[in-house]
């Protein structure tokens, strides 16, 4: 392995190449552009389409209570909710966790999020109208608001971090999981599970589903900054189900290079939150490992090795790289 002296705050391109680090230009030019057809992008950019595909393929997703398409529907909101005590409002085309509101309890007048913040009914309907007007959508286009089942985080992760929902990201190349990580919200990330916003991350061993390493704000860590709970050595529950679901989704989306985000629900097990056609490269930092050689190895395989039943061997090979 190459050495870097303490004062040097950069790495040479050759050093990154030796480590097999995938850069953003290479990701875009060599993997996303050739592997992901533009026409299939709406399948991941619009969450209600992703959910429909998951539903049809038997992949667990949070129940959709309602799809709010026009401002008129906003008024019927209380009707739609019925006697449900908790739910999530999210924009269909949102990105980076923007515009998601998790309501944990309510009395029809006041609504409380999981972190205890209070919203009035008027504020809630305003939020939905804002989603419809495209405030949180990728390109500012008018959007839909999804009202769905609230996922209760599995206790394995609930113990590690307070506030926010930890999620598991699997990056798949040609339908084969190439790398996975768990993302743990912190106070610094304000409950968001994005590494660049300050969340903590850790790599996941593809074969066993056990976490290792740990990173926060681009620095290596061993314990969660808020709770002090160790991040490494955590066994992800239902890991095999999760991997299977990710592969099935990748096949159904027909996108060659995707990231799938899961949340492990206390009762449902792993459910798909969303898929991403341009998954970030921070997963390499969380795994302290480059994606390059793994993608290269997958690319070098003959077609018969991509059959669903053979992929496990391939995953094991990839995990060893």
């Amino acid at each position: 392995m190459t050495q870097r002296s303490a004062w040097r705050f950069w790495a040479w391109p050759s050093e990154l190449r030796d480590q097999g680090i995938l850069g953003i230009n290479r990701r875009n030019g060599r993997f996303i552009l050739p592997m992901n057809q533009r026409k299939f992008y709406p399948r991941v950019d619009e969450k209600h389409l992703t959910k429909k595909i998951c539903h049809d393929a038997g992949i667990p997703v949070p129940d959709t209570y309602a799809l709010i398409e026009k401002n008129g529907d906003v008024r019927r909101f209380l009707e739609i909710i019925g006697d449900r005590t908790d739910f999530v409002i999210k924009p269909a085309a949102g990105s980076a966790g923007r515009g998601i509101m998790v309501i944990a309890r309510h009395n029809g007048q006041e609504f409380f999020t999981s972190s205890g913040q209070r919203y009035t009914f008027a504020e809630l309907t305003y939020h939905m109208s804002a989603i419809l007007s495209g405030l949180y959508s990728l390109s500012g286009q008018p959007d839909l608001a999804i009202i769905e089942q609230r996922i209760v985080c599995h206790e394995t992760f609930a113990r590690i971090c307070q506030g926010g929902t930890p999620d598991i990201r699997v990056v798949l190349y040609r339908g084969v999981p190439a790398m996975a990580m768990v993302r743990l919200p912190t106070q610094a990330s304000r409950g968001k599970a994005n590494l660049h916003q300050g969340a903590a991350g850790a790599g996941i061993d593809l074969v066993g589903g056990c976490t290792f390493g740990g990173v926060c704000q681009d620095r290596a860590i061993a314990i969660h900054p808020d709770t002090g709970h160790p991040i490494a050595g955590v066994q992800v529950p239902f890991w095999n189900d999760l991997l299977q679901a990710s592969m099935r989704l990748a096949d159904n989306l027909e996108l060659g290079y995707i990231g799938v985000d899961f949340v492990v629900d206390a009762t449902l097990g792993p459910v798909v939150l969303e898929a991403n056609a341009r998954p970030g490269l921070n997963i390499q930092v969380a795994n302290r490992h480059g994606l390059g050689p793994r993608l290269k190895h997958i690319n070098a395989q003959p077609p018969e090795r991509f059959l669903r039943e053979c992929r496990h061997e391939l995953i094991a090979e990839v995990a060893r790289i």
Binding site: R4, S133, R219, Q284
Partner: protein
């Protein structure tokens, strides 16, 4: 054919196209062109005089290059006279042409100038009047030939018109109107003296101009006579005298004969300032008596056949489409700037895909820079900063109203527009933007989006991230601004727009670049092992 080989072919094709079109353009470089509304004139000075002996000198004032007129070539001088290099004598301007006789006796000579006149062109776009020196100041306030500043009738008129203590501009206009109304043109027979014209209520062109000058000077407003030509066809062609008045750092022209105030028509070409004679007999430095006598002068003007006109359709074939110089002059400057714009895009692509610096919006820096090119930079930045800060504060307050996206953006846009108009009014009031009379109109939609994005980023990430992005946006806008302001580059692109074939080539190469971004060398640095701590 895969993407790689197609790229190679496209690049080869573009290289060929670019090289071929540049080669063709260099080979068939077309003639200089004029434009509709432009004309070329031949102005001739005739002078006949008696030289007592060899070495008598004659000084001729040279037509000035103004915004709308320019001297095309150096003048043709008579062979029987020598051209004397410039010497600082008497009231000689550096541009004056001094001729010296080779022998004694009667001399008849002529000097020809070729003038290019255009209503639309601007040959001195950035011309600024120099501030008056103390010497000029006293000269243009003091009495002169036919200009008796201290005469009682001048003082009396001034006292009457100065009623209400008006500002210089208004005062000068009152004086001008007074001279127009109460000094009747008396033809050549009337007096050339300013005071006489004022007292009698009639005067020659010169007498009236002198009277107006005396009145201005008596009001402590610097004024001077200007003699030149009104370039037009007609039976009589002779020098014409008008007055220039120095107000608020600018010389303004007033012509009593034609009634022009503040600015003259485009076809008035000044030749001599602070004087009346365009051709003068002067004494050389070393002697006092060797001079030309019995000087008689005459001037003629002749309109030359119009050169090929730029936008005559179909005169020289379709290929002329590619000659951008044929476009109206007014369009040249904007087109030059627009032609540099792709280089701004090139720079943007470089910064984003090779360096990896993020900004607000992909082309926002480029569009901002473009806006600053067409405005005065200093006042532009002032307005920009004020609009941004006030916009941000209002946007923060607006957030409490919980308004939907489009109406809210509409409000921010309205605020931006109002702030900008206010900014323009403030700048105008305090004369911070004296040289360019134009207003500061920044792209309002871009500013609106900038305010919105700045606010959203500061809310979703934090203020320092938003500030950082604003910093990179501004820094990039500044670099692109420098690029766009690079006049030689603009002229080059204007003459050879096909150079952009090469811009496309570079962009293609960048688009195929799959190496690391500079920012990634830092971002992923921890994935490269550090040195173990030194062992003792």
């Amino acid at each position: 054919m895969n993407a790689r080989s197609s790229t190679t072919w496209v690049i080869a094709l573009l290289l060929l196209l670019g090289a071929a079109s540049i080669a063709l353009r260099i080979k068939y470089k077309p003639e200089p062109l004029t434009h509709p509304g432009e004309s070329v004139w031949k102005l001739t000075y005739f002078a006949s005089f008696h030289a007592r002996k060899a070495g008598a000198e004659l000084q001729m004032a040279y037509p000035e290059t103004t915004r709308h007129s320019t001297v095309l070539e150096s003048p043709t001088t008579p062979p029987e006279l020598d051209v004397v290099p410039y010497r600082p004598i008497r009231a000689a301007s550096r541009k004056d042409l001094t001729l010296r006789t080779k022998k004694a006796g009667q001399v008849d000579c002529r000097v020809e100038f070729k003038l290019h006149l255009s209503r639309r062109a601007d040959w001195r776009p950035d011309s600024v009047d120099k501030p008056l020196t103390a010497r000029d100041q006293s000269k243009y306030l003091d009495k002169g030939r036919g200009i008796e500043v201290g005469h009682p009738s001048v003082a009396e008129t001034v006292n009457r018109l100065r009623d209400g203590n008006p500002k210089p501009q208004e005062l000068v206009e009152r004086l001008f109107e007074h001279c127009l109304r109460s000094i009747i043109p008396g033809g050549d027979a009337a007096s050339n003296d300013g005071t006489e014209a004022l007292v009698r209520g009639t005067g020659s062109t010169l007498g009236r101009a002198r009277a107006f000058t005396a009145l201005c000077r008596a009001c402590k407003v610097p004024a001077r006579l200007v003699t030149g030509f009104e370039i037009k066809l007609g039976n009589t062609f002779r020098p014409h005298t008008w007055v220039e008045v120095f107000i608020d750092g600018r010389w303004q022209s007033y012509d009593l004969e034609n009634g022009f105030a503040r600015e003259l028509d485009y076809n008035f070409v000044p030749v001599r300032r602070d004087g009346v004679e365009l051709i003068r007999a002067v004494n050389p430095l070393d002697t006092v008596d060797v001079a030309a006598t019995d000087l008689v002068t005459r001037y003629t003007i002749e309109k030359l056949p119009a050169p090929p006109v730029a936008t005559d359709p179909g005169t020289e074939g379709l290929l002329q489409i590619f000659d951008l110089r044929r476009l109206p002059v007014k369009l040249h400057e904007p087109i030059k700037v627009i032609l540099i714009l792709p280089l701004g895009a090139l720079f943007t692509a470089f910064v984003r895909t090779i360096v990896g610096i993020r900004t607000f919006g992909t082309f926002t820096p480029t569009l901002l820079a473009l806006a600053f090119v067409f405005n005065d930079l200093k006042s532009g930045i002032c307005v920009f900063v004020v609009v941004l800060i006030t916009g941000f504060i209002s946007r923060t307050l607006l957030d409490r109203l919980k308004l939907l996206l489009v109406p809210r953006l509409g409000i921010v846009l309205t605020l931006v527009v109002m702030l900008m108009v206010l900014g323009v009014a403030v700048i105008n009031h305090f004369h911070w933007n004296p040289h360019k009379g134009e207003t500061v109109l920044l792209p309002m939609v871009i500013l609106t989006n900038l305010v919105e994005r700045f606010f959203v980023t500061s809310e979703e990430d934090n203020l320092s991230e938003a500030g950082r992005l604003m910093g990179t946006t501004m820094a990039m806008a500044f670099v692109i601004y420098l690029l766009l302001n690079f006049k030689n580059l603009g002229t080059l692109m204007f003459d050879f727009p096909e150079l952009h074939f090469f811009t496309v080539i570079v962009l293609i190469l960048m688009g195929r670049y799959t190496g690391y971004r500079v920012s990634e060398l830092i971002r992923f640095r921890d994935l490269v092992q550090r040195d173990p701590p030194p062992q003792e």
